[in-house]
Point group: C2
Chain length 215, copies 2
Amino acid sequence: MPTARTTVRRLPDRGVYDRETIATILDEGLVCHVGFVADGQPFVIPTIYARDGERIYVHGSAASRMQRTLAGGVPMCVTVTIVDGLVLARSVFNHSMNYRSVVVLGTATVVEGEEKVRALETIAEHVAPGRWREARGPSANELKATLVLALPLDECSAKVRTGPPEDEDEDYALPHWAGVLPLSLVAGSPIPDARLKAGTALPPSVRGWRRPRSG
Amino acid sequence: MPTARTTVRRLPDRGVYDRETIATILDEGLVCHVGFVADGQPFVIPTIYARDGERIYVHGSAASRMQRTLAGGVPMCVTVTIVDGLVLARSVFNHSMNYRSVVVLGTATVVEGEEKVRALETIAEHVAPGRWREARGPSANELKATLVLALPLDECSAKVRTGPPEDEDEDYALPHWAGVLPLSLVAGSPIPDARLKAGTALPPSVRGWRRPRSG
């Protein structure tokens, strides 16, 4: 699966290629960054996505420049990054981040029919598990206004850094604090819509939201 | 400053161009996603960055493919995205995210000499304010191994979504819960390095770390 284009060249010990690691990162991430080229200029746009087995789905307005460009089957890149912490070394030079990222290269195909509805369900469930059945499903017009793209996980790689700082041998004698400051994406208190009917219970998708999802 | 390439075309009410909004987003973000093209293939790579006035700096190993490619002055894109919350509407279709993102287009120049050291300080202070003076500064060899690039904020735009879900008129009668689940990047308990000297105090950069930085 790693090709010459996705083999991690720098710090190759951080390159991880097994499918389970890649799937775990893609399932925990919330937003991806999609790269594509238009008129020779690269663009990087954040968007929602979801993994379904050996592909990832991205969706958007059928009118968007990005969606229309990608639907033409041009080369694209989807990158998912999870920041796990700041790595604070004794030297400025050895400062780093703990993170997990996946890079997927390829070309997308447009998803239609039954698979399109399933893909939208997969995306909704990726963002907030349980939400698909808590909300009104898409109408025919809403489906028409939405473009869903599938990108196969044929050419992809992961890069992972974990653990403490790695200082130069002579720097361990320095008096500076060193260690890791863990970071994570955390949910605050839900803000009910102003027009919510009184007494509407908080649904499981909101009450139980966490990353990585439990179970 | 917004050009035809950075003008937000979809949902133009979400396009924000004033410099203060752009600066605030760039200063709060932690990681950027850099887009560039090699052999016709777009790549999107996460990396640390920092804003300094009217430019942003990215740094990396002088040996990295990305850094060497960008140093050649090819078109690049830097995108910073802050996820602020899940927007849960009564219909699946109107689900969204609250987020703030900045897209910068341009070509980088290599930063040398005095500015290079200042740029590294700016990056360290961006990630963990106060850290530059808490750690050992870079040696001549470490400076040589690091490539710092500057990208001017000449061509950039921001996109911001805030506030509650916007449902179709007829959907407000539905019984489904709707609202916003706020999300933020939160620091956990610092993990001291196993080889830390006993009694080393937690420094201000770690003790006080938060996004957005206070003050």
